[in-house]
């Protein structure tokens, strides 16, 4: 058996810190940030039955962070009675998006074809975004289940972006940027996003310029949204563990810096 190195003890410490705090189940008081509130207010302000495109622009690896965000936004939109059109611009997000929509629609007794539809995946995301701006039917002649576009009741009145209230991109990478550049820039459709925390600094300039209308970011954003819709989920449950993990990383950074400066001083001596 190999002798444990310092990095192994760091991992063990992280396991113990996160595991223990998850078992404790202490709820944290989470203040709502402006951007999460904006997303909530926008969905809330739309008249019942407004069509919204939900674009699942993520891969399976980011699911632990993306799922709580997607679930809380979908729950809110279904609860308000909006008509949701699901699409996927990453192949890996296709089935995940369908499952998430199915799961949340069932919670609110929403019916496929009448209250929501899932159009599936189209490759070449820029071409797909531009094509949807011309005609959703031409881009997706059939839905994910193989039904013809015109056979789906709620889609008969949808031509292109002019007929939807906005696009919500659920993303773990830079795909929302393409929605902003091509969907928002060229077709003037309102773009909102739910993204992983790692992407916040990428999208902040777009939020500041008003090109991105709302941004729900990371597990923290999911926890805020769950609070707004008064429905506990993965975001809320993970917040104490995340705060503990952050404190743990801060302590490690301080210890590392102190050790570095001490060793440097010793070296000089």
């Amino acid at each position: 058996m190999k002798r444990l190195e310092p990095r192994h003890w760091i991992f063990v410490g992280l396991f113990v810190a996160i595991g223990c705090t998850m078992l404790l189940k202490i709820p944290l008081e989470i203040p709502i940030t402006d951007q999460t509130q904006k997303m909530y207010d926008y969905i809330e302000s739309l008249p019942e039955g407004s069509p919204l495109i939900i674009s699942f622009d993520h891969e399976a690896s980011s699911l632990p962070e993306i799922k709580p965000i997607a679930l809380s936004i979908l729950r809110h939109a279904f609860r308000k009675g909006h008509k949701l059109i699901g699409v996927a611009l990453y192949a890996e997000g296709t089935l995940i998006g369908y499952r998430l929509m199915q799961e949340t629609a069932a919670e609110y007794d929403r019916e496929y074809g009448r209250d929501y539809a899932y159009l599936g995946f189209r490759p070449q995301y820029i071409a797909a975004i531009l094509s949807m701006g011309e005609s959703l039917e031409q881009t997706f002649p059939q839905d994910y289940l193989g039904n013809d576009f015109q056979d789906i009741e709620m889609l008969r009145t949808i031509g292109n972006y002019d007929d939807v209230a906005g696009v919500i991109s659920i993303a773990d990478g830079s795909l929302t940027t393409h929605w902003i550049e091509y969907g928002g820039g060229r077709y003037d459709v309102r773009i909102l996003a739910g993204v992983t925390a790692a992407m916040v600094t990428t999208y902040d300039p777009y939020v500041a310029s008003g090109q991105l209308n709302a941004l729900v970011a990371g597990l923290r954003g999911a926890a805020e949204y769950e609070k707004l819709i008064d429905r506990e989920g993965g975001g809320n449950r993970g917040m104490l563990a995340q705060s503990t993990a952050h404190l743990y990383v801060i302590v490690l950074i301080i210890i590392g810096n102190v050790a570095y400066f001490r060793s440097r001083r010793k070296g000089r001596g």
């Binding site: 189209r122 490759p123 928002g184 820039g185 060229r186 300039p205 090109q211 597990l219 995340q242 993990a245």
Partner: protein, 204 residues
């Protein structure tokens, strides 16, 4: 426990075993992930691209113009033959030309014009006080751009401005690192939640 949860739990543990050291169990899980991802991607692409948008409409006799992109696509494979390799330049040229034509105006508008106009903000509030956030944006943009100005040596005013620019860049890198740590921790917490609830049943 259903078979899906059992497989997912065991694979999660297999991946986490890398934290101790590289081992065959981790390698197996990694290879499985790559294989399944590529397989899934190929099936989805075949179904939703080639079948839905190419072969089905073509065989139904709906749109013979589809032969043109099909031909261009097939010409890509000309690269494998030495004598006909030049034919691949036709679809590549088409891709580069159309791609640049579509991207340049959109990116100029969204990334340059709109972003520049967002930095033109009032430097005072409606009550006449200095608007700190507006001033920070202005100073940040100017000093960071001077850092990337390489046509003159960074001395004097330019040097001092570039130096301030590096501090803004460091704040950006720090924020990005912090958010990335947050993101990775969230992923780990998600897997821990799965292990503790669905897999081990220690938490409900």
């Amino acid at each position: 426990m259903d078979i899906g949860t059992l497989v997912a739990g065991l694979l999660t543990l297999a991946v986490l075993s890398f934290l101790y050291r590289d081992n065959p169990v981790y390698k197996m899980a990694e290879s499985l992930l790559i294989g399944v991802s590529i397989g899934y991607f190929l099936v989805v692409t075949w179904e939703s691209t080639l079948m839905d948008t190419m072969f089905e409409p073509l065989f139904a006799g709906d749109d013979f113009w589809l032969l043109l992109p099909l031909l261009l696509g097939l010409l890509m494979f000309a690269r494998f033959g030495r004598r006909v390799a030049w034919l691949a330049k036709i679809p590549i040229g088409f891709l580069i030309g159309s791609g640049a034509g579509v991207a340049i105006p959109a990116m100029l508008y969204a990334r340059t014009i709109k972003q520049m106009s967002a930095t033109v903000v009032p430097l005072t509030t409606s009550s006449g006080w200095p608007d700190i956030s507006g001033i920070v944006v202005l100073v940040g943009v100017i000093t960071t751009i001077t850092y990337f100005y390489f046509s003159r040596e960074h001395e004097g005013v330019l040097g001092r401005s570039a130096k301030i620019g590096t501090y803004f860049l460091m704040v950006f890198f720090g924020a990005t690192f912090g958010f990335t740590v947050m993101s990775r921790m969230s992923t780990f917490i998600g897997r821990m939640e799965f292990l503790l609830t669905d897999f081990l049943g220690l938490m409900y």
